[in-house]
C-alpha cells in the first residue's frame, strides 16, 4: 500500500469527525426536536403546522435525506484529498 500509515490515521480521524457532526445533527433532528422538545415547539406555528409536529412528521426526514448526500460529498472530497479515491 502506497499511502503511509500516518496518512491513513489522519484520513480515518477526519472521517470520524465528519461522522460525529452528521450524527449529532441526526440526533438533534430525530430525537431532540421531534421528541424531547416537541411540546414547547408545538406552541410555535409554521403555517398550518405546529413546529414540533412538523419536525417529527416531515422536517427530520428531509434532513436525514440531505445529510446522506452531504456525507457523500464530504467523503468524496476527503477521499480525493488523501488520494484514496476509486477514480
Amino acid at each position: 500500500m502506497a499511502e503511509s500509515t500516518k496518512d491513513m490515521k489522519a484520513y480515518w480521524h477526519r472521517n470520524l469527525q465528519i461522522q460525529f457532526w452528521l450524527l449529532l445533527i441526526w440526533f438533534i433532528m430525530g430525537y431532540v426536536l421531534s421528541i424531547f422538545l416537541v411540546v414547547p415547539l408545538n406552541s410555535i406555528k409554521m403555517g398550518g403546522f405546529p413546529l414540533g409536529f412538523w419536525f417529527a412528521q416531515q422536517g427530520a426526514i428531509y434532513v436525514f435525506v440531505v445529510e446522506i448526500f452531504v456525507y457523500c460529498k464530504l467523503m468524496r472530497n476527503l477521499d480525493r484529498e488523501f488520494n484514496v479515491d476509486e477514480g
Binding site: 499511502e3 421528541i35 417529527a56 435525506v65
Partner: protein
C-alpha cells in the same frame, strides 16, 4: 365484472408480466450474479431497489392508517424506519461494500476469524428474515382476496410462484431489476391518490404541503386542516391530533428506546444490508443509501399527509351522519368486515367517539347464510358491545386501500392501488428470501459443510434453498401461526441486539476479538429474546425500567456492546492479518475488483 375489478386484473396482470419478463432478461449463471448481482448495479437503481426491498405491505397498506388513528405518536414509526438509513450510510454500507463479499455472515465470519461467529450470524440472519417474510406472504394473500376476489390461499400460492420465478432464475440480479419496477409501481400507486385527495381537500396538489394548508370547502372552509382535526378531536373527546405526550405518565426512556431500536434494527436487517453489496464502488454504496432514503422518503413524507386527509374525510363523511346515507366505499368495505356500525343509542346515526365500539373484529349475526339486519338495514353484530359511546368500527388498513374510493377517484386508480400493494409485499418477500437462501447456501453449505463445492453445485444449492424458503414462507402464509403479529418486534430487536453492534465494532475497532464478538452476540440475542418472550407470551412484566418489548432491542444492543468490550479486554488480540483487513475496509481505494472466494 365491475370496472374496478377489471382494472385491478389489468394492472396486476401487466405488472406481473413485466416482472417475469425482467426475470427472464436477468437470469444468471454464476454465484456472483446470484448473490450480489455481479456488483454492477448503478446507485440510483440500487436506491429504488432498496426502497422497494424495505417498504413492505406494512409500510404501503398499514402505516398511514396507523398514523391516522395515532396522530403524533405515529412519528415513532416514521422516524424509526427512516433514521436507520443515516446509520446505514455513515457507519456500515461503504465499509461492507469495500469488504466485497456476498453476505452479512460472510463479514462476521471473516472479521472475527471464526466459523462459530459465522454460524451465529447466519442463524440470526435466517431467523430475522424468516420472521419478517411470513407476514409478507400473508399480505400478498390478503390483497389478492380483497381486490381480485380469489381465495387467500390461492393468492399466496400465486405470489409464491411469481417470487420463485424471478428470485430462483435471476437471484439478486433478477430481484434487483424487478424491485426497480416494483418501486415504480408502488410509488405511483401511493402518490396518485395522495395528490388527488390533497387537491380535493386543500386545493394544493402536493400532500406534504397540503396537510398544513387550509380546507377549501365544507363547514371548516378556510381553516387549517390540522387545526380542524384538533378541534374535531376535542369536540368528540379524542386526543388532539398533533398533541404530543397527551397523558402525563409517558415513559420518555421507553419512547427513546423504541425509536432507537427501530433505527438500529433497520440498519442491522440483513436483507437491507446485502443490497449495498451490489454496487460497483464504495462511493456508490454511500450514494445509493442516499437515493434509497430519498425514494423511501417520497412515501414516508406522504404517509402522514394521507393519514391526516383520511382522518378528516372519514369523520366528515361518516360522523353524526345517518347510516341510510353512508357512501358506497363504506358498504364495499363492510362486505369483508372491515367497517361496521352498531346503533347504540337507536338514533340511526353513526357516532364516532373514542374507544372500541365492540370487542374484537366484527363477527356478523347470520341466519340461513344471510345477514340479520337491524332497523336501519345495517348487518347486526354478534360481538360483545362495549358501554362507551362509540358506534363505529373502521379497520386501520383500509385507510390507504380505500382512499381512492373515498376521494372519488376513477376505477383505474383503485385497481392501481391493488397492484401497488402487491408490489410492496412481493418485493420485500423476495429480498428476504434471498437473504435466507444466501445465508444457508453460501455461509452454511459452502463455507462450513462443503468447502470444495463447485460453482455449479453452489448455484444449484442456492436455488434449492430459495425454493425451500419460499415453500416454508408460503406454508406459514396459508396457515399463519397465531404469533406472527407478535414476533415482528423480534426481527427489529434481534437485528439491533445482535448483528448491528458486531458489524459496527468489526469496522470501528481493530482490537475486538472473536471470543468477545460471540459472547456479545449471544448476550444480546438471549437477553432480547427472553425479555420479549417473557413479556409477549408468558404475560410477564416489562421489568427493565418499564421498557416495552418493542424497545428492548436498544437495551440488548447496549448489553452486547458492554459484553463485547469487557471480553475483548481479557482475550488475545486478533491476528495481524485481521487488523490489516479492518484497515483495508476503511479506505475506499481498491474496491473495484471484487474479492472472489
Amino acid at each position: 365484472m365491475s370496472a374496478i375489478l377489471g382494472w385491478t386484473y389489468f394492472w396486476v396482470g401487466l405488472t406481473f408480466a413485466v416482472y417475469i419478463y425482467i426475470a427472464w432478461r436477468s437470469r444468471v449463471s454464476d454465484t456472483k450474479g446470484f448473490y450480489v448481482a455481479g456488483m454492477g448495479v448503478p446507485p440510483i437503481a440500487n436506491g429504488m431497489a432498496t426502497g422497494a426491498d424495505w417498504m413492505s405491505a406494512a409500510s404501503f397498506i398499514s402505516m398511514a392508517g396507523l398514523i391516522s388513528f395515532l396522530g403524533y405518536p405515529g412519528t415513532y414509526y416514521l422516524l424509526g424506519w427512516t433514521g436507520g438509513y443515516v446509520l446505514l450510510a455513515l457507519l456500515l454500507a461503504p465499509y461492507l461494500r469495500k469488504f466485497g463479499k456476498y453476505t452479512v455472515p460472510d463479514f462476521v465470519g471473516d472479521r472475527y476469524y471464526s466459523q462459530s461467529a459465522r454460524m451465529v450470524a447466519a442463524a440470526c440472519t435466517v431467523f430475522i428474515s424468516f420472521t419478517y417474510v411470513c407476514g409478507q406472504m400473508r399480505g400478498v394473500g390478503i390483497v389478492f382476496s380483497r381486490f381480485l376476489e380469489v381465495d387467500i390461499n390461492t393468492g399466496v400460492i400465486i405470489g409464491m410462484c411469481i417470487v420463485f420465478i424471478y428470485a430462483g432464475l435471476g437471484g439478486m440480479k433478477g430481484i434487483t431489476w424487478t424491485q426497480v419496477a416494483q418501486y415504480c409501481t408502488l410509488i405511483l400507486a401511493y402518490l396518485i391518490p395522495a395528490w388527488a385527495i390533497s387537491y380535493k381537500i386543500t386545493g394544493v396538489p402536493i400532500p406534504q404541503i397540503g396537510f398544513g394548508s387550509t380546507i377549501t370547502v365544507g363547514a371548516y372552509a378556510g381553516k387549517h386542516l390540522l387545526d380542524t382535526l384538533n378541534v374535531i378531536a376535542h369536540d368528540f373527546g379524542f386526543i388532539e391530533y398533533t398533541k404530543a405526550f397527551a397523558s402525563t405518565n409517558v415513559n420518555m426512556l421507553n419512547v427513546f428506546c423504541i425509536m432507537f431500536a427501530l433505527m438500529v434494527g433497520t440498519a442491522g436487517l440483513p436483507h437491507v444490508i446485502i443490497r449495498f453489496f451490489t454496487v460497483p464502488k464504495v462511493r456508490d454504496a454511500r450514494l445509493s443509501a442516499g437515493w434509497a432514503l430519498f425514494f423511501i422518503a417520497l412515501l414516508y413524507t406522504t404517509a402522514p399527509a394521507v393519514a391526516a386527509f383520511a382522518r378528516y374525510n372519514m369523520i366528515e363523511t361518516l360522523n353524526d351522519k345517518p347510516y341510510a346515507n353512508v357512501p358506497a366505499w363504506y358498504l364495499n368495505w363492510q362486505k369483508p368486515g372491515l367497517t361496521a356500525w352498531v346503533d347504540k343509542n337507536g338514533d340511526g346515526k353513526i357516532q364516532y367517539r373514542p374507544g372500541a365500539a365492540f370487542a374484537g373484529r366484527p363477527k356478523w349475526k347470520m341466519k340461513d347464510g344471510k345477514h340479520e339486519l337491524g332497523k336501519y338495514g345495517e348487518p347486526l353484530l354478534a360481538n360483545k358491545i362495549t358501554d362507551n359511546k362509540n358506534e363505529l368500527y373502521i379497520d386501520r388498513d383500509i385507510m390507504v386501500l380505500a382512499s381512492p374510493e373515498i376521494g372519488g377517484l376513477p376505477a383505474w386508480v383503485v385497481g392501481l392501488v391493488a397492484a401497488g400493494g402487491l408490489a410492496a409485499a412481493l418485493s420485500t418477500a423476495a429480498g428476504l428470501l434471498l437473504a435466507v437462501g444466501s445465508a444457508v447456501s453460501h455461509d452454511l453449505y459452502y463455507r462450513v459443510i462443503n468447502k470444495t463445492a463447485t460453482e455449479k453445485q453452489r448455484l444449484l444449492v442456492a436455488r434449492i434453498m430459495i425454493g425451500v424458503a419460499i415453500a416454508c414462507a408460503g406454508w406459514f402464509g396459508i396457515y399463519p401461526p397465531a404469533f406472527v403479529a407478535q414476533v415482528v418486534a423480534f426481527a427489529f430487536g434481534l437485528a439491533a441486539a445482535s448483528l448491528f453492534p458486531i458489524i459496527l465494532l468489526g469496522i470501528f475497532s481493530t482490537r475486538v476479538t472473536r471470543e468477545a464478538a460471540i459472547c456479545g452476540m449471544l448476550a444480546g440475542i438471549l437477553f432480547t429474546a427472553i425479555y420479549i418472550i417473557n413479556a409477549k407470551f408468558l404475560g410477564g412484566a416489562n421489568w427493565f425500567l418499564g421498557i416495552t418489548p418493542e424497545g428492548i432491542g436498544t437495551v440488548g444492543m447496549v448489553l452486547n456492546f458492554i459484553v463485547t468490550g469487557v471480553v475483548t479486554q481479557f482475550t488475545k488480540a486478533p491476528p495481524k492479518e485481521i487488523q490489516e483487513l479492518v484497515e483495508m475496509v476503511r479506505i475506499p481505494k481498491g474496491a473495484g475488483a471484487a474479492i472472489d472466494h
